[in-house]
Symmetry: C2
Subunit: 334 residues, 2 copies
């Protein structure tokens, strides 16, 4: 018997939708097998974009409303069951789909998800997690903005959810988990971080190794695999890293091509330069994953293209095949 994986796709969110979402599905479908895409959006438009999908199924659910990027979460929620986003989330609620993906309005997606999906038992708050490149591969970092203020229980839950996510994505590795702090010594940080440190140090488990504190300059060092922080700090860290990376890449490019001589040499070295760009291509670690609800919710970046969307579909596949939710339930501290 072949197991079919059902992915609910909100096709109407983010720049260039629904074309981006449909092209993403077509691209993903070339390498993926046994997938059924449950696509929510304007049927006529989607049909026009659709081409042949080899070895996978594609089902369109016609919806009339769509959530705009400019809608407040409240306005979005009021549009109710008629929006493609709501319908897609309902599809995982009713177990027709295993996971939901959207490139739409982040705030709306999380509010509608929380309205429709139950929390995993013993988890108080869901967290927004993402992949972050490092020297030896990818980290999981969470929370990146879902919770401005967190308790020690929240941070401990994030450690467990993050390591379960990491194991779903990279099944061969036993993750090292660390708390983001302003120093590596035990006396550093606020009482909440110290409390989480104590709980994690004492927790016996076979799922991850607790590596203590990590500082901001070591997020990308590859020494740990899962980095835990509150949503305020995580969001600032992520965006600061993005800003710094863009700044440095631009400085490098500007300086190296600041004269004709440099321009010619850089042109000749284009292939090597492209390697950096390819390795750091944001589409490789596109999007974020809201974990803590009974079904994971995958948010593709609004401005990514179909390749990025397709990569997020791969993440959906890995999460379901890796039994993320079961892993979390097994490890969570009651």
């Amino acid at each position: 018997m072949t197991k079919i994986l059902n992915i609910a796709v909100d096709a109407m969110g983010g720049e260039g939708s629904p074309k981006k979402a449909i092209d993403g599905i077509i691209h993903h479908s070339k390498t993926a097998k046994n997938i059924n895409y449950n696509v929510f959006g304007e049927e006529e438009e989607i049909k026009g974009l659709l081409k042949n999908l080899k070895g996978n199924n594609f089902k369109i659910f016609n919806t009339k409303e769509k959530i705009l990027d400019t809608d407040s979460p409240l306005t979005a929620a009021r549009k109710g069951k008629n929006s493609s986003m709501w319908k897609a989330i309902e599809s995982v609620k009713s177990k027709e789909s295993d996971i939901i993906i959207s490139a739409g309005n982040t705030g709306a997606l999380f509010v509608i998800a929380k309205m429709n999906l139950e929390m995993i038992e013993n988890i108080d708050k869901p967290a927004l997690s993402a992949l972050w490149p490092n020297k030896s591969g990818m980290n999981v970092v969470l929370d990146l903005g879902a919770n401005i203020e967190c308790s020690e229980k929240n941070l401990t839950d994030f450690a467990i959810m993050g390591s379960s996510l990491f194991r779903s994505l990279f099944p061969k590795e036993q993750p090292k988990v660390a708390l983001l702090n302003i120093g590596s010594e035990d006396i550093k940080g606020n009482e909440i971080i110290k409390g989480a440190h104590k709980i994690l140090s004492e927790k016996k488990n076979n799922e991850f190794n607790f590596a203590g504190y990590i500082e901001g300059n070591n997020i990308m060092s590859g020494d740990v695999n899962v980095i835990v922080t509150d949503g305020f700090t995580g969001n600032i860290a992520l965006k600061t890293a993005e800003g710094t990376a863009n700044f440095i890449m631009k400085e490098v490019k500007d300086s190296m091509t600041s004269n004709l001589y440099g321009k010619v040499l850089s042109f000749l070295n284009l292939k090597n330069l492209k390697k950096v760009k390819d390795k750091l291509d944001p589409r490789l670690y596109n999007g974020a994953i809201l974990i803590g609800l009974n079904s994971p919710v995958v948010k593709s970046h609004g401005s990514t293209d179909y390749i990025g969307f397709s990569n997020s579909l791969k993440v959906c596949e890995k999460i379901v095949n890796g039994n993320l939710i079961e892993k979390i339930k097994h490890n969570i501290i009651a």
Copy 2:
């Protein structure tokens, strides 16, 4: 009448001291005028390192104790008046010096400074500030770790102190001040940030323009000049930026020279590549400034070389000549 600027130098702190500090003074002295360096440390050792200082004076105060980088702030404070660090701070307390600089133990420096120097009236907490490169020059960012938790009054004070520091360093510019937050909309952030936003929006002044919220990805965009945050977030942001910059520079270097062809081309483009390195040279924005006490305390990075130390001496000069403390007193909200 010529005004002499007195700088108290703790010569015994940081890697390669006292040689680094003395070489830094010699280097600084080549371009600076009318400076008197009050140098605290082991007299015999310092004398052996000393060469001719053109147009400036140099006075050695022999001290027997020195604070180690491994000393806890408490251990350091217990060494008391006999350490070079304490003596240097006492020298600004007694008005023999206008400002103090050290490349030693950061925690110890701040504890001993706070024990000896009074706070500026109506300021509750001192803040650790630093220069941060951006597209069009340099930002001032604070707090970078002195205060893990901050009130709205603290953040407001930081805005005033930071803009006063910016005006001392760059007298021609009217600074734009922003609060670091996880979104630019008014509803984003915690109650403390919103409270500080309200106070700063309502404050009428000629010293700075309040530009609202800024997100992490815009710290280096050059849109604002002073970025205000609590010490926990600021420390994580600064270190994350450092880590990201190192990561990207290494990736660029590795990729561009991954084969012989690339190596040759990169070698030929060395002069242009050096421009990036020069522009982003950490020695240019070396160290940090503790502001809020009756005298500013300048902390040079422990691992910087004599050029970095000399650049921090230049910062000392600008701060005193720019009347930083008077500026803060004039602008602070009672």
